[in-house]
Structure formats: C-alpha cells, structure tokens
C-alpha cells in the first residue's frame, strides 16, 4: 500500500531526472543550440523579404508581412525541429542507452514523458526567441501577452505532436533513412498547406479544404486568433482542442511503439 502512495511522486521525480539529462545534452551541444535558433532567423528574414509585397494583394488583411510571418515561422520551426526527435531515440537504442535505462527500476513512463517534456520545453523556448527576434525586427503583436502565450503554447503542443510521431517512427522502423525521407517529404507541404505564409482566404479551394485538416494550420489558426486585436477565443478553443487531442493520440501511439520495442529486445 505504501508503495502505491509514493509511486506517482517517484515517477515525477524520475521524469525530471530524465528531462534534466536531455536538457543538459541540449546545452552541451552549442552547435545544435545555435542552429535551432539561426534557422528561424534565416526563415524570418528570407521569407520576410521574399513575400514582403504579398500584403498588397486585396483580401490579405494584415498590415505588415512581418506581423503575419512571425507565427508562421514559429510554427514551421516547431515542426522542423521536433520531427527529428526520432533520430535521437534511434541513436539511444543503437548505443544501448535506452536498454541501460530499461534495466534500472526507473518508471517506463518517465523515459517517454521526459522526451515529450523536453520537446515541449525546447519548442517553447525556441518560440519565445522568435517572438523576440520578430519584435526586434519591428513586428507588432496586437493581441498582447495573452495572444503570444497562446501562440507559444500552441506551437509547443504541435512540437509534442511531431516529436511523438517521430519517436514512434524511429522505434518502429529503426532506420534513419525512413525518418529523413518522411521528414523531407512532409515539411514543406505541411507548411505551405497552412496559413504560415499565405492567408487561407487566397488559397485555391482544394488547398483550403486540405488546410482545414492540417494540424500545422490548427496551431496557426489558434495562435493567430488569439494574437489579433479582437481575439477570437472560440477559434482558439476549437483549434487548440483538436491540437491537444491529436497530441494525446500521438503520445499514446509513441507509448504503444515503446512497449512493442521493449518486447522486441
């Protein structure tokens, strides 16, 4: 009986230890850290310069393209950095680190929860940095702090979705090539079939239909709805709700594949 009382707190403590390990690894690899921050900067200024006059198209709506672009780059970065999570998991499997942890009495959930937590935290951090960079570049955030908070949370949840899917693929196929193939195939269609760079109102009809089912677009719709001058909280809740549901599904899937990995050892 007494173990049942202490079990949850032990699981939480272990999740923290495992997350801490990953966080230290993140800090100890400055090259990786810098790339995750430089890449969004390049996107921000590349796309910002390329599409600057897009706002002049009748019906676009936004005043400055940079204002419009910041959420797009935040969400795209969340997708692109988390979709590689499976590579790390694969490396841990090959190196024997995962088995080393499985031999200890650590809670199985702590191992996977630490992955999700780490992905969510780094995505939140990355998102905040992009918000600041955009602000330095002259972007306006009419929705204020609440709007930005929704955007950061939405992109972090989206990050967790892609991180969990990537982990599931990594444990399932155990091949780097598959992860690389899937990612390069998915990133651009997912981003361009959303309102990241172009308002959905100006898209061809079929694209609008596809975008409605695109989780990347859900994160953007939730973020943009909260960031506008007159926040549309219904849109935030509905898109955010779908996103959270999807995240729960993705995490469940990665837990399932983790269990099947344990059986295959």
């Amino acid at each position: 009986m007494s173990t049942a009382v202490f079990a949850p707190s032990a699981a939480v403590r272990e999740t923290w230890f495992m997350t801490q390990r990953q966080f230290m690894a993140f800090l100890r690899q400055p090259a990786y850290l810098i790339i995750t921050l430089i890449q969004p900067v390049i996107w921000l200024f590349l796309f910002g310069a390329l599409f600057r006059r897009v706002v002049e198209i009748p019906g676009f709506g936004a005043g400055s393209y940079l204002d419009y672009l910041v959420p797009g780059v935040i969400v795209m970065s969340a997708v692109s950095s988390n979709m590689w999570a499976g590579m790390g998991t694969l490396e841990e499997i090959e190196r024997g680190t995962l088995n080393r942890f499985l031999i200890t009495p650590v809670h199985r959930s702590a191992i996977m929860n630490a992955n999700v937590l780490m992905q969510t935290l780094t995505t939140a951090f990355q998102s905040v940095v992009i918000v600041l960079l955009g602000w330095l570049g002259g972007a306006h955030y009419p929705g204020g702090a609440a709007g930005l908070l929704v955007l950061v949370v939405a992109s972090s949840v989206l990050g967790a979705v892609f991180g969990a899917f990537s982990n599931a693929i990594g444990m399932l196929v155990r091949e780097r090539e598959s992860i690389i193939g899937i990612n390069t195939f998915m990133l651009l269609p997912l981003t361009f079939l959303s309102s990241a760079f172009m308002t959905t109102g100006l898209m061809p009809h079929w694209m609008q239909v596809v975008a409605r089912f695109n989780p990347v677009n859900w994160a953007l719709e939730a973020g943009r709805a909260a960031m506008s001058e007159h926040a549309d909280w219904w849109s935030v809740l509905s898109h955010g709700g779908w996103l959270v549901l999807l995240a729960a599904g993705a995490i469940w899937l990665s837990m399932r594949t983790f269990r099947s990995y344990q059986k295959s050892v």
């Binding site: 272990e14 230890f17 690894a25 090959e94 024997g96 080393r100 499985l102 200890t104 009495p105």
Partner: protein, 362 residues
C-alpha cells in the same frame, strides 16, 4: 566470504543436483530457458524464427565469478537479457538474487547491475553526471550518492576525467565507467556481457585485473559472458560452455580440462631419432603414457599427470641413449574442451553462427 573462489570442485558437467534443488540460495538460477526471435520482414532465411535459447539451464552460487563461454550467437547475450528483465523468455523460469525475473521485475532490477556489450553511457554527459543519474534512478540521492560516485570515480581511476564529456573517453576508460555505472547502487549480482570485446590488449589486461578485484568483494556474484577462451579460463571460478542455445558442459575450468584425460607431453631430442621404434618402445614402458608419436626430433605423448610423468620419460630416453633438448608439458586448453563438447572447434562455430545470424539479429 568465499575467498578462494578457484578451488576446483568435483562434478564437472551439468550440475543436475543444483537444478533439481530448485535453486534455493543460488544467485542466479535458470531452468530450461527457451527464446525464439522472429526477424521482421527482410530476413527470409529463417521463417520459423531463430532459436536463440534452446532449453538453457544454469545455477550460479553466490560470491563467485561464473563464466558463460561460447562463440558469438551461441545465446549468451539473450540469456543476459532475460536474466536482467530486458527480454522475456518464451518458456522456462529464472530467478536472480532469489527473485523471479518474469514476475518480480522491480526487485530483480534493484538487485542487479549490468555492463552490457554496448556502452550505455550518455556520451554528451560527463562521467560524473552519468553516475549521478544512475544512482538517482535507483532512488539514491544527497550526500550518500555523491560520496558513492566519488568513491567509484577514484576506484576506477576516472577522478581526473570525471567532469569531461564521455565522448572524449578512450575505450578502456569508457569500459571502466560502464562497470562503475553498474555498481553505483551496490548490486548483489553483476552481469558483465563481453566486457573486454573491442578493447586493446593493454586495456583488456587492466579490465581483467579490475574484475579480479571485484570478484568475491562484498559477496558480489559476477556473471561474465565471453567468447574469449583465455578470459574465461583466467577469471571464472566456474564456467558453462554454451553452444546453440544450450549448456554443453559445466564445471571449474580445471575440472573441464581434466575431463580431457591427459596433458600433452612434448619432448624435443637433441638429434633426430634414426629409428623411431626404440623410442616408442622405451616410452611405451612408462606407465600412464599413451598416444606416443615420433616425428624426427619431436616426440609427443599424452599422460594423465604430465608433470609427474616427466622424470620417468627422461629416464626411459636416457636408457636408450637418446639425449633430450627440451620437455614441455601443457594442460589441455579450453579450446580442446569446447571441441569435445560442442563437437566442433570454437573458431568454426563462430563462423557458422555469424553467417546464420546475419539479418536475423535485427
């Protein structure tokens, strides 16, 4: 504690008595373990799966180094995976430190330390952080943990490198760290799965010394798997020879070699024997000497006790006027033992199994 772990004990070859006693008091006790791997997709070579373990049974008494010797793919690592709760056996039962590996995961995990074939250390973290994390996963913390970590770092000569990232470590340092990681929580049973594979000779010798120091200390039981005959011979107080997923022989290294009935006695004559008949005749009269062959200056024979036969051999040769340049007596090697029980030489078995295991191991 049992300090003289190398006392040869009688009764080599499958220890049925221990098996039937239910393993009470044994540090590791496994009965009839069977495990079949089903390679996914591509490996069409073996559609019915690869039988990694085919009724393997072992019993290890506490406080000794027990060697599991066999070529690659014989089933050693699969045995370790089952005994350390990583994998489940298809059938058969096993206990480690008295706990059932299938039903008492948590208790088994607390009682064991494992040094796997592949280092499990996090290369980006420092050696010290790896040890601290390991301790925390066992619920250790505070001063107790830092004291233990410092003690292990010092003992494995890693104090200086403690705050360096593990990826900068040499092969030998990494292996020492792996052993330290396995010992943080003071386990009762330590599994060393091919601890010296891939090490250079110098690091291997150092690791052997380390294992010898660990042996018998604090009542620690060590289950060592290896495919190096000399490693098993040097370190293990008892060993079991694994072939194709089964134990084919078990006993102390000396007892196993003793089973081969006889040491090799080699005599080198000063001058080639003009006629081999008198030499064979003279040696044939020495009691206990057999399988005598003469080839020029080289004379070979087998004797139950080679060293004891030497004076008689010299006297017999002296009587017929053959002068002797050198005499060597050698105990049968574990390779001979392996050849006898597995019915093929160690190197040949290794080749066959490597080919069969290709594509199936994934």
């Amino acid at each position: 504690m049992n300090t003289d772990t190398r006392t040869p004990s009688p009764g080599a070859v499958p220890d049925r008595a221990a098996e039937q006693s239910g393993g009470a008091g044994a540090a590791v006790h496994a009965v009839d373990l069977v495990k079949t791997y089903h390679p996914k997709g591509r490996g069409k070579a073996a559609p019915e799966g690869v039988r990694a373990l085919d009724g393997l049974s072992i019993s290890v008494e506490p406080g000794i180094v027990f060697g599991l010797l066999g070529p690659n793919g014989a089933g050693k690592s699969t045995t370790v995976k089952i005994l350390t709760t990583l994998a489940a056996a298809d059938s058969g039962t096993a206990t480690v430190a008295g706990f059932d590996v299938a039903r008492e995961h948590a208790k088994v995990r607390r009682a064991i330390g494992v040094v796997a074939q592949r280092s499990g250390a996090d290369p980006v973290a420092t050696g010290r952080d790896n040890l601290l994390l390991q301790g925390r996963l066992y619920g250790m913390g505070g001063v107790e943990l830092t004291r233990r970590v410092d003690e292990l770092l010092a003992r494995f000569d890693l104090t200086e490198a403690a705050r360096r990232q593990v990826k900068t470590y040499s092969g030998g340092m990494l292996r020492r760290l792996d052993v330290a990681i396995g010992l943080v929580h003071r386990p009762q049973v330590l599994f060393l799965d091919e601890p010296t594979t891939g090490l250079d000779p110098e690091a291997r010798t150092a690791m052997w010394e380390e294992i010898e120091r660990l042996a018998g200390a604090e009542g620690l039981t060590i289950l060592l798997t290896t495919h190096y005959l000399e490693e098993a011979d040097k370190l293990a107080a008892r060993l079991a020879i694994v072939d194709r997923g089964r134990i084919v022989a078990e006993g102390t290294p000396d007892a196993l070699k003793g089973e081969l009935h006889g040491d090799a006695v080699a005599v080198e004559l000063s001058r080639p024997a003009a006629d081999e008949l008198p030499v064979v005749g003279a040696l044939g009269a020495v009691s206990g000497l057999r399988d005598i062959t003469v080839d020029g200056r080289r004379v070979a024979a087998r004797a139950d006790d080679g060293a004891a036969a030497v004076p008689a051999v010299l006297a017999a040769l002296d009587r017929i006027g053959a002068s002797v340049a050198a005499v060597t007596v050698s105990r049968p090697s574990l390779d001979d033992v392996y050849l006898r029980y597995a019915g093929r030489s160690f190197a040949a078995a290794e080749n066959v199994i490597e080919h069969a295991a290709e594509g199936a191991s994934r």
